[in-house]
């Protein structure tokens, strides 16, 4: 296997996904298969090749540092699960 169950648990935690114990075997198996497929890349020497970050080799565009948008907090919070007084509600973080 290209990846162990313990590594899958660790990576899933980094991705904030709680994989239930009974699904772990299946996930580990499929992810291993995908990593095996991806390993084809290792057959190619790419030492002198520049990575391609953007297909047009374009760099990040910058705009003038000017205010162009208005505050739409209420509109954007209208789709939030829990809001109060303009604030998003989450479980208590600090005791």
């Amino acid at each position: 296997m290209a990846i162990s169950k313990a590594e899958v648990v660790k990576v899933a935690h980094l991705a904030r996904l709680a994989i239930p114990e009974d699904r772990l075997e299946g996930y580990t198996h499929t992810i291993s298969d995908i990593l095996d497929l991806v390993a084809q890349m290792n057959a190619v020497n790419t030492d002198d090749v520049l990575p391609l970050l953007n297909p047009l080799d374009a760099t990040q565009l910058l705009r003038a540092d000017a205010v162009t948008e208005t505050n739409l907090r209420e509109l954007y919070q209208s789709v939030a699960p829990r809001v109060e007084d303009g604030l998003y509600l989450v479980p208590k973080v600090i005791e």
């Binding site: 899933a12 994989i19 890349m41 190619v44 705009r63 973080v93």
Partner: protein, 495 residues
């Protein structure tokens, strides 16, 4: 001229429908009602639509009818009813991305493409089904269920823009917008016998098009003809200050060059696209299509894309890596699915995400997170980006010798629903002919060129950067001397 039967109208191109409106043979309202009735009658067999916006469509029809009558609106798409893949944000309308995660998400703003189509007077019929967050090749990865292929209801329509392809093929919309990250408009268009174009990366604004893999995603029109695609592409292309990756490159008049003769056109046939794995009957149909181009005056030579076989490997690092970053926004706090009674913040994140995402999305998030994690970045993401450069260089070299490349879109015709749903690797390998184009960022069209066992076969025509006009010219020339693009599944034609 009398108005034809409903079935006949639903098989007309957008250009023809607009002409009927201009000639006052039919009103926009009548046309909208016709499509709404067809959706009601036929969609239960297909499951192409997630949301039908009948009230909005009727209100828009009244407005557009008035504006056309007063001369205020004369856009060539005015009054023509269409559908949007359910990842384009539409204010006040569910934008689910085919996911439980966004099954309660009413977008607070409009995507730029939707805004542009509204200004043109195009009438939105509804939002169509898709693989969850555009991850899939069969439309089976949708929270809203699989979609059937109108040519054979036991088969998949392709993905991820499966609802878009099925809706257009069955005459439940005149055209649709999909999105293409690794083949997601070209492959379903091929399986469903319609035309599609994945433009050059950056050609169309992605503002309001939910991100999957940001260095690959591009919006793509799906329609009945190359002529229609020219009109749609014209309407939605161009630089957008709201999408910093949109290209500041002038948009040519795509319709103006549709009829240029193909005499002297140099076609390259990538030999790697005809190697083992390509179904013999599909190969035969593709070769016949290439012969047709010879008769139109083109010359054909074999070329090589020697690194294209590495596309699947590179894509399944780059796309999941970028997806894992893009999908980190779903936290159960600001929008989307939120789990019940979280015990703490971590539980809120982890359970909301586990419950909200489907299996394929979660697999790709884990793969992507792994590829980007400390100690693995160079071996996976950086390596894949280097391979991507090699793949791009293959195309750059090929276009020194030829004007366009031609080959199949897929190795086979549409497969059965359920056939590959337990085997992600088999599903991934089916994208072998579309992924290289996506990684290079060049444009490609997919047009129907025949059938194998009564299932449509698509030809892929690939062009150099920002040369969409040439691709549309080539596709249109073929469609002037053939009628594959005018064929419709008999089950869905008629009133």
């Amino acid at each position: 001229m009398t108005v034809a039967t409903q079935g006949d109208l639903s098989t007309l191109t957008s250009k023809e429908l607009h002409q009927l409106i201009v000639n006052k043979d039919i009103s926009v309202m009548e046309l909208v009602e016709l499509f709404l009735n067809r959706i009601k009658q036929y969609d239960p067999q297909l499951n192409a639509y997630i949301t039908v916006v009948q009230d909005k469509a009727r209100a828009q029809a009244i407005e557009v009818d008035n504006k056309i009558r007063s001369g205020e609106l004369n856009h060539p798409l005015a009054g023509v009813p269409y559908a949007l893949k359910d990842l384009f944000c539409t204010k006040g309308i569910l934008t689910s991305c085919g996911s439980k995660m966004l099954s309660n998400f009413i977008s607070p703003y409009d995507a730029t493409v939707y805004d542009k189509l509204n200004q043109a007077g195009a009438v939105l019929l509804g939002k169509v089904n898709m693989d969850e967050f555009a991850m899939g090749s069969s439309n089976e990865n949708s929270y809203y269920g699989a979609v059937a292929n109108p040519w054979d209801l036991s088969r998949i329509p392709g993905g991820s823009s499966g609802g878009s392809a099925a809706a257009v093929a069955a005459g439940l919309a005149a055209y649709s917008l999909g999105s293409d990250t690794g083949g997601s408009v070209r492959q379903p268009a091929s399986y469903c016998g319609i035309s599609s174009i994945k433009p050059t990366y950056g050609r169309i604004s992605r503002y309001g098009m939910t991100a999957y893999a940001s260095s690959l995603d591009q919006c793509g029109p799906m329609a009945r003809s190359a002529e229609d695609m020219a009109l749609i592409l014209q309407t939605i292309s161009g630089f957008d200050v709201r999408d910093s990756t949109s290209a500041n490159v002038p948009v040519p008049d795509y319709s103006a060059t549709l009829n240029e003769p193909l005499t002297g056109l140099r076609i390259g046939i990538p030999k790697e696209f005809f190697a083992d794995g390509l179904d013999a009957d599909v190969a035969k149909v593709i070769n016949e299509a290439v012969e047709q181009f010879k008769r139109l005056g083109a010359t054909v030579k074999e070329v090589s894309l020697p690194n294209s076989h590495l596309s699947v490997a590179a894509y399944y690092v780059i796309a999941p890596a970028e997806a894992s970053a893009n999908l980190s926004r779903f936290d159960g706090v600001r929008f989307g699915h939120s789990c019940d009674a979280p015990t703490n913040l971590q539980d809120l994140y982890e359970r909301s995400r586990w419950e909200g995402f489907g299996d394929e999305v979660k697999r790709r998030i884990v793969i992507g997170t792994y590829a980007l994690s400390s100690g693995y970045y160079d071996a996976y993401y950086l390596k894949a980006q280097k391979i991507r450069r090699l793949i791009k260089n293959d195309f750059v070299a090929a276009f020194n010798d030829v004007d366009v490349l031609m080959g199949p879109v897929t190795p086979t015709t549409a497969f059965k629903i359920g056939e590959k749903s337990d085997d992600p690797i088999a599903m991934y390998l089916g994208d072998i002919y579309t992924l290289p184009i996506s990684l290079a960022g060049v444009p490609a069209v997919s047009i129907p060129v025949g059938f194998s066992d009564n299932l449509p076969v698509g030809l892929q025509i690939i062009g150099d950067y920002f040369n969409e006009a040439k691709l549309l010219n080539v596709a249109h020339s073929y469609q002037q001397v053939t009628d594959w693009h005018r064929q419709s599944p008999s089950q869905f034609t008629g009133a």
